[in-house]
């Protein structure tokens, strides 16, 4: 499965400025593992030491927050977009 990972501004230093990168992976966890393999540093930024996503990290498969699907085990399909988006505060 090749998916497009959209990289947020604060993490583009890790991808030499690229806002999007193509990554292989059958699940969200696998794609993020492969992302860290190609651009070391992502895992540190995204995960707590216990392997959970950090409090302020949101990951979307296409338009869905993966926490509303199967979390890190959410399955990916070819051509999916995987967006990493920092939590947004400040009300409506």
């Amino acid at each position: 499965m090749a998916v497009t990972v959209r990289v947020p501004g604060p993490l583009r230093r890790l991808t030499a400025g690229a806002p999007e990168v193509q990554i292989e992976g059958a699940t969200v966890a696998e794609a993020l593992r492969n992302l860290d393999g190609r651009f070391p540093g992502f895992a540190d930024r995204l995960y707590e030491p216990d392997g959970q996503l950090k409090q302020f990290v949101n990951v979307y498969r296409n338009d869905e927050d993966v926490r509303f699907a199967s979390g890190l085990e959410t399955a990916l399909e070819d051509g999916d977009d995987l967006s990493i988006v920092p939590a947004v505060a400040g009300g409506r």
């Binding site: 947020p8 993490l11 409090q55 990290v57 338009d63 947004v88 505060a89 400040g90 009300g91 409506r92």
Partner: protein, 428 residues
């Protein structure tokens, strides 16, 4: 004040403490935590005195020394802040609180507390050369951003879900911002704006301008303490959406103590108010953890509080607990009753979010939380005209009568009955 060194030292991550230079960024590169303004308090302390504040303008800008705007040009202001803090004796009697106060922040230029935060964000953005001032919003924030963009001569960009009713859009459209309608929910619109802020040179108030924007919330608490005679209240009831302002009220209290503007002593209990239809923070509080489980589809009339994924929620839970406060949620009917109670007891018409605050106050009072001697302040952050639709059908209108005394007497015998004392009392 140009002889003073800058008081804004850096932006600092609230979660991990990493510092970065001041700029339009809001997320820590290390941990994604929220960046906050870090001041050089030695510089702040040279100007932040009671005398200097009291001599300042009758707006929140009397606290400029505790805000992150240092440009020589005047800030972008519509006179926001210094809203009334009113003693609420009749509501207090109902609730058994002799020293209950309402901070009526609905009396701001666009009728919500958002004017405070947007005034700071707009001032900072204009001084930094931004041409576009944006936000994702469905209500109060949209109103404020559209108005302050007009005031500053900037292009306003307000991104909204497409299913908003026209009468919700009109109070924003009148300022003629670029109104972008998106097929999607509020949370999806917010996410789009987050990605736009990453790719366009635009200032989004609640995204890349957030460190500056959110500091404006502190002034609500500064003013409350000043209006109480430089005294900390015993408890503050605060509506919770993202949790941003709750966290800033805590910061404001610590700054007041650290700067010697109030004596060191017991801090107010900070209590949060949510609607049950979107209560991720209250649920985390009740569960004993600080892990926020997001709400996918908020369902409440308190739309200005309906953030399913509140980024400062965990900090709200921690600060509420540490201060001795609680985070409580109330039913829809309680919200409407809260609006009516405040209106009928004190003559203050608040939006649904204010109904949430009053309902939480009432629920806690009935549960015996207070002895009656505590000083309790409720933050009322938006005007009732914002959500007037929520009250439709609440009051049945009487049939009209002909304009004659005879018809009046026939239609309203109880009002002219000599035994109905309130209507017969003479004013002399």
């Amino acid at each position: 004040m140009s002889h003073l060194p800058p008081r804004v030292r850096a932006l600092r991550c609230r979660a991990c403490g990493t510092e970065v230079p001041v700029g339009p960024v809001h997320v820590c590169e290390q941990c994604f935590g929220p960046l906050e303004v870090a001041y050089d308090y030695a510089v702040v302390a040279r100007t932040a005195t009671r005398a200097a504040i009291e001599a300042g303008p009758m707006s929140m800008w009397r606290y400029h020394m505790l805000l992150p705007y240092e440009d020589p040009a005047p800030p972008v202001t519509l006179g926001e802040g210094m809203t009334p803090l009113v003693h609420a004796p009749r509501l207090g009697e109902v609730l058994g609180l002799r020293h209950l106060y309402i901070k009526n922040d609905s009396l701001n230029p666009t009728n919500s507390f958002k004017d405070r935060v947007v005034s700071v964000a707009t001032s900072w953005a204009r001084a930094r050369g931004f041409q576009v001032l944006g936000c994702a919003s469905t209500g109060n924030l949209a109103n404020a951003v559209a108005a302050y963009a007009a005031r500053a001569g900037l292009r306003g960009l307000v991104v909204i879900p497409d299913d908003l009713e026209p009468n919700k859009v009109a109070p924003t459209a009148v300022f003629a911002p670029e109104l972008v309608r998106v097929h999607g929910t509020y949370d999806e619109v917010n996410r789009l704006c987050s990605e736009l802020a990453d790719s366009q040179p635009w200032g989004f108030c609640n995204i890349n301008l957030r460190p500056f924007y959110s500091e404006g919330s502190k002034t609500l608490t500064f003013e409350t303490v000043e209006q109480l005679g430089w005294r900390l209240p015993d408890e503050i009831i605060i509506p919770v959406a993202s949790g941003s302002q709750f966290v800033k009220h805590h910061k404001a209290i610590e700054e007041l103590v650290d700067l010697g503007l109030v004596p060191d002593g017991p801090r107010p209990r900070l209590t949060g108010a949510q609607a049950l239809g979107c209560s991720p923070v209250a649920r985390a509080f009740a569960s004993g953890s600080d892990h926020i489980v997001p709400v996918r589809e908020p369902r409440t009339i308190a739309k200005s509080l309906a953030i399913g994924n509140p980024s400062d929620g965990a900090d709200v839970v921690r600060l509420a607990r540490a201060s001795g406060g609680v985070v409580v949620a109330v039913e829809e009917e309680q919200i409407l009753e809260g609006m009516e109670l405040l209106a009928r007891a004190e003559g203050i018409f608040t939006e649904t979010a204010g109904g949430v605050t009053v309902a939480v106050l009432k629920q806690l009072a009935e549960a015996g939380r207070w002895t009656g001697d505590e000083t309790v302040v409720a933050y009322i952050t938006g005007h009732g005209l914002k959500t007037v639709d929520s009250l439709s059908g609440r009051t049945e209108l009487a049939e009209p009568i002909p304009p004659s005394l005879r018809a009046f007497r026939r239609a309203y015998p109880e009002l002219v009955n000599p035994d109905a004392s309130p209507w017969r009392a003479s004013t002399g």
